[in-house]
Symmetry: C4
Subunit: 187 residues, 4 copies
């Protein structure tokens, strides 16, 4: 390729394979009350499957699993690495933080958008990590709480993306062997 | 805890116990005309009760109380410290300002969103204080005025939060003695 | 007054009497096609009357008045100072610009939000003037064009206000002789 | 003209004739699934015709044309310069990038808003080019994806404009020979 791109090494604004995926607190007893829970789980699953196919590291968190159970089965089988937590912000848990700080953009999805997802995003951002939140893969009990969470994430300059954006940015081009398989997952 | 958080002392982006709460002009004669007044009062009450439980300082303002009466009784009993005011911006009243500048983020709720809440938020921000406005605990007569107030607060980089965000950020973790009591208040 | 306000002279974020008001192209032949024209004219009239009462300078512009007629009569009587223009951006007209640059925040209202109001706001902003646009006193033929204009004004950090915000910020406090008269105009 | 504009040479915030127009992937097999496809094509056509009339350079891209066909006929006749692409981001194609970096603001329209338009806008922005996206001339299969794309473009400070804004900013004033002809196209 010729042109300006050859002359410098700008930071790409699109997402790259140098990402890691975190599914926050998608636990059955919480899910039952979440607005749009079915879409949240489906989008988390799409991201987890694409991450597997493309070799992107992924993990999940469980809030108080002794009290309210683990990550829902449909996702748990896809995400062997799990962190149990006491703080609403996973970024306050040392074991999670050591993993999350291991490199690349941290992509967050899960529940609740305005509590644990928000606090984790702000915690990681405050520590200087690059964070993106997948807006169609997060949920709260009330839609207005999710909207307020997105507003506050924007305020703190956290990047907001969709699951489809993520998959197509990880892919970059249509002539890759994984393209058709992931396109089927998206649709 | 180990990890990056140990290596530096970043400013937390989530709210902390180092906050103070101000209820602006929630007076019966104004309330009668406010869109969503019942929710505004309920959310102010939730915040006042949580502030009491967690030892957060709180105060209220009364616009022209001789003319239009004091803070509504439901809140007045929870907020002994009150400032009477002549300016729409409480930040122009020296006694209020001395208290508000006493430390921590100033959390604002009350009415009207686009007049006294907005002017107070901009006044305090212009003086260099950190301000957050609780979006589900403020109101105006017309919803479009509240929306315009939020838009202008964003323009001036004032943080916008919800009452539930505030309570869960003050709490930080689920294994505290106050958690269950405050969870009941939230629901 | 005592407190932090005494120790420095911060730039106020609220509007002050150091403002000037510009009504852009509110001409009958354009108005007929404007969405919400009645509100646009009513809000422009409120602002013009408040400006008169408080001694705020004001002017209006007429796009191609030979072709499409002058500012509508209801406003024309309140605004003796008028600038005829050929450019969509009034800021490209030397006589207007000399007046607009005479001091204080330039408050814009009128039509069309996404053409002449937008271009004038961007032109003045690009020249370093402080500009605010009154969102409930501007209009376009299609609501989506007005929304896109507001979005673009935000992008360029132009302040967005409402007519009521302006009046209460000009007034500052309720114990002024003009308060009751202007309160009647607002309602 | 006299006044402040004479004293400096500020960067204009309105668009100027120093622009170039890019129509991204408006191909029939993609269009069939796009929400609001008819408006997208009509607005792209308006921009292409105005660009021709005013001497603005323009080009189009075709994603995998061997697989899904070329730019739709209605636009293809107006845009002889076309770039075939393999990457979702046209900015990753050297031939396109050399042309796009040839000067002025790069105006983007076409489909899908949240994949190829978004990635191209972010790619060009990351390389330091000035980019504007025409919001009423882009589309995705789902409206929520387009909305998320606009949100992310705002995050990265990409300018969002409408087709009508573009035409009136290119024109600058009503007393030009092209004004009436372009006004007819707009309406």
């Amino acid at each position: 390729m010729s042109g300006p791109a050859d002359r410098s090494a700008p930071t790409p604004l699109v997402l790259t394979g140098n990402s890691r995926l975190v599914i926050i607190d998608v636990q059955d007893r919480l899910l039952a009350a979440i607005d749009g829970a079915e879409q949240v789980v489906a989008r988390c699953e799409l991201l987890a499957r694409a991450a597997h196919r493309l070799g992107i590291p992924l993990a999940a968190t469980d809030q108080n699993p002794a009290g309210i159970g683990p990550t829902t089965a449909r996702l748990a089988t896809l995400v062997p690495l799990r962190f149990s937590k006491v703080h609403f912000a996973a970024s306050n848990q040392g074991d999670f933080l050591a993993w999350a700080a291991g490199g690349g953009t941290v992509l967050l999805c899960g529940t609740e958008a305005h509590i644990c997802v928000l606090q984790t995003a702000l915690g990681l951002t405050g520590l200087g990590l690059k964070v993106a939140v997948v807006v169609d893969a997060i949920g709260s009990r009330h839609p207005s709480d999710k909207a307020a969470a997105l507003d506050r994430l924007r305020h703190h300059r956290v990047e907001l993306v969709t699951a489809e954006m993520v998959v197509f940015e990880w892919l970059e081009r249509y002539d890759r062997p994984e393209f058709k398989e992931l396109l089927r997952l998206v649709k």
